[in-house]
């Protein structure tokens, strides 16, 4: 899966989780930019992303993410390391 594909797939996941078809994700997107992406929404997004990408995030990894760009890199690294 290329980074571009991960962006697309993650945007799909976010649209599904936050029930908003207009969501677009870029490297600089942060939680406050997306309506519904609060602490509860965040956990739901993690759960859905874990299912979608077949990976498991550690809490520490997730806490250090600053934006969607970091998230995509983390997913890519996890998938490579599987």
């Amino acid at each position: 899966m290329t980074e571009a594909e991960i962006y697309d797939a993650l945007a799909d996941v976010a649209r599904d989780v936050f029930d908003d078809d207009t969501i677009k994700l870029g490297p600089e997107t942060r939680a406050p930019d997306v309506p519904g992406w609060d602490s509860q929404g965040n956990i739901m997004l993690i759960v859905a992303a874990e299912q979608r990408f077949g990976v498991r995030f550690r809490p520490a990894e997730f806490e250090s993410l600053k934006n969607v760009g970091d998230f995509v890199s983390l997913i890519a690294a996890k998938r490579d390391g599987r």
Partner: protein, 644 residues
């Protein structure tokens, strides 16, 4: 995601698409109907959230337009948690839709349950919850004890915790008028020893188990209910699906988000049971459901049932489970495409049949379609189609029944019959809030009723039939003994129920402490047996009416005894009781609930005259009056017996 948390619900070909297209339905009631149907499909937490958002919009629009959807029973549920439950609320509401409830859910403050219950909370008071769920976890409930604490020390700490819970339940009832539901503890702590934990009274595993046992005993005594999450996992769902320590550390989620649909359903089925919406009757197919093979082709010797083969044992085990359900009060019926004589012969002659004809209250074996048979069963037993759960090994038959009769619950089944009992249990359609003597007698009573019906079918003269039943009606003031069954009827009866006012057992007791109030319970016996407590009438003075008039607050009757003249006989008893305490007139009220149209002419038929509604009455209610002095009471065929 592959794990299905709701395996008894059918899979939808494209649920996401169906949810999306429901938005195109313009009218909120039509859209809500579509969403209620979608709530009946296997769904993950995300799809569930989407259904919840859309259904919430519809329900709000309907309430603004003058009342909730007719097919859904409104119920307000307050959840007082010690752990995060926000992510579970959509799943609770959507499961409610599938179980015919319009649930309004309010969340108490995280960890504030003591304060909210003991000292009161204005907002919670205004919410007027019907149900309060105490969703507590081990961190809030488990006593802190050294691992070497002795058994008496553990026992005393457990008692102290449970005494506090009982106080909380009491406050839920008295302060908010709500039925308390206590979530039992989940064993989430890892073992300290291993098997030996069970022998150490203060080990976390032993403590959780002991606490749950004592909580359940206290709840039984106090009339509280429990939410038991541990004992009710469908096959292929494991503890690791329910609790994820990462989610606990991340957000104090005791329940892993993907598990939410199942948690929501476990809550909703208790709420449905409290609202009298649990199913009442298990309808069974025969060929390849109760036995292996087709009896019409294979003959009675050819079907596979009972000892001798694993397959035969599995069918016998399933029959045994159905029989057990029958003994706890679930009505059993048969719907099968078969020759009736051949089908009955299996019950009468096969030595390994666990179920016997006497266990089956409604027997429909013929070549009509299943939907017609299910209608006939509902009609014969005088219960609604929504009280039926239909079990058929054939996926096509299941799909047809779902399409023809969406009110009937039709669980998906595993391929092999050995999985049927667990699947039916997992589906949770028969959740209960009490087990009364009447439940234990019911199977027999419905069966006797079927025999009465058979007599009636052949009798030409109705009066003669009624006389031949030698019926006796015993009217008794509702006392301690009859209260649980009376409360059960008050909360379950839908069709023959004039006012549909629900009351808990405690509320009923409180109402009857007024010496001017009359609470009568009626028991009916006839030559086929004892029908048990079958009717409840409550009357009381009401400020909206004159002092010497009694308002009939509640009048309900079990539909099992329809057409027997019980209502006329009950009126005679009520008139007598009212007259003897100086009342001059009875006021009847008919409150349409959407499900009780069968009694809209109840008071007119009994000789009451229409009267004006008081100013503050329910807008849809209609009122009737019967002046007791020289009233002409309708005739009946029952021998009356008043008993103290």
């Amino acid at each position: 995601m592959t794990t299905s948390f709701l395996p008894w619900l059918p899979a939808h070909e494209s649920l996401g698409e169906a949810i999306r297209s429901s938005r195109a339905i313009a009218k909120p009631d039509g859209r809500l109907r579509a969403l209620v149907r979608l709530a009946g499909y296997d769904r993950d937490v995300i799809a569930t959230g989407k259904i919840d958002r859309l259904a919430g919009e519809c329900l709000r629009a309907l309430v603004e337009g003058g009342g909730p959807a007719e097919s859904l029973t409104p119920l307000r549920l307050a959840i007082l948690p010690s752990h995060t439950v926000d992510h579970l609320l959509p799943a609770i509401r959507v499961a409610g839709l599938h179980r015919r409830l319009a649930l309004e859910v309010k969340l108490g403050g995280y960890g504030l349950y003591r304060q909210e219950l003991l000292h009161g909370d204005e907002e919670l008071g205004r919410f007027e919850p019907g149900l309060i769920l105490l969703a507590l976890d081990a961190s809030a409930m488990l006593p802190q004890l050294p691992i070497g604490a002795s058994e008496p020390e553990v026992e005393s700490a457990v008692r102290q915790t449970v005494d506090e819970l009982r106080l909380l339940w009491e406050h839920a009832r008295t302060r908010y008028g709500a039925q308390p539901v206590q979530q039992l503890l989940l064993p989430t702590a890892p073992r300290l020893f291993g098997s030996f934990d069970a022998l150490v009274p203060a080990s976390p595993a032993a403590l959780v188990e002991r606490l749950n046992t004592v909580v359940a005993a206290a709840a039984r005594q106090d009339g509280a209910l429990v939410l038991d999450l541990a004992g009710q996992m469908p096959e292929q769902v494991g503890e690791q699906d329910r609790f994820d320590s990462v989610r606990w550390h991340q957000g104090k989620q005791l329940i892993n988000p993907p598990f939410a649909p199942l948690y929501g359903d476990l809550v909703a089925r208790v709420a449905a049971a409290v609202s009298g919406l649990s199913a009442k009757c298990l309808v069974l197919d025969l060929d390849n459901t109760l036995w292996g093979g087709v009896i019409g082709d294979d003959g009675i010797e050819g079907i596979r049932l009972g000892q001798g083969s694993a397959e035969g044992e599995a069918y016998a085990a399933f029959q045994h489970y159905a029989a057990q359900l029958g003994r706890r009060g679930v009505i059993l019926a048969v719907s099968s495409k078969n020759d009736e004589v051949v089908a009955r012969a299996a019950f009468e002659q096969h030595p390994d049949m666990v179920l016997r004809l006497g266990d089956i209250a409604g027997f429909q074996a013929n070549w009509s379609d299943k939907a017609a048979n299910l209608r006939a069963i509902a009609q014969q037993l005088n219960i609604g189609l929504e009280s039926l759960v239909f079990i058929d090994d054939n996926p096509a038959e299941r799909a047809i029944v779902r399409r023809e009769l969406p009110q009937v619950a039709v669980p998906e089944l595993p391929e092999d019959v050995s999985g049927y009992p667990a699947r039916i249990a997992a589906a949770g359609y028969f959740e209960a809030v009490s087990l009364t003597g009447e439940d234990l007698e019911r199977g027999r009573s419905y069966t006797a009723n079927a025999e009465r019906q058979a007599v009636l079918d052949t009798a030409t003269d109705m009066d003669g039939f009624l006389r031949s039943l030698a019926m006796q009606l015993v009217a008794r003031p509702i006392g301690l003994m009859d209260r649980p069954r009376a409360a059960q009827l008050i909360n379950k009866s839908n069709q023959y129920n004039l006012s549909t006012r629900r009351r808990t057992e405690q509320e009923l007791a409180a109402m009857l402490t007024d010496p001017a109030a009359i609470g009568l319970g009626f028991r009916l016996t006839d030559r086929f047996g004892d029908n048990g407590l079958i009717s409840v009438v409550l009357a009381r003075p009401d400020p909206a009416f004159a002092q010497n008039e009694l308002l009939i607050d509640t009048w309900l009757m079990s539909c099992r005894v329809l057409g027997r003249g019980v209502e006329a006989a009950a009126l005679a008893c009520l008139a007598q009781a009212a007259g003897s305490q100086g009342a001059l007139a009875l006021i009847g009220e008919y409150r349409p609930s959407g499900r009780n149209s069968m009694v809209e002419n109840h008071y007119a038929d009994l000789g009451f005259k229409p009267t004006d509604a008081p100013a503050d009455a329910d807008r849809k209610s209609r009122f009737w009056k019967l002046v007791l002095a020289n009233a002409e009471l309708p005739p009946h065929h029952l021998k009356l017996e008043a008993s103290q």
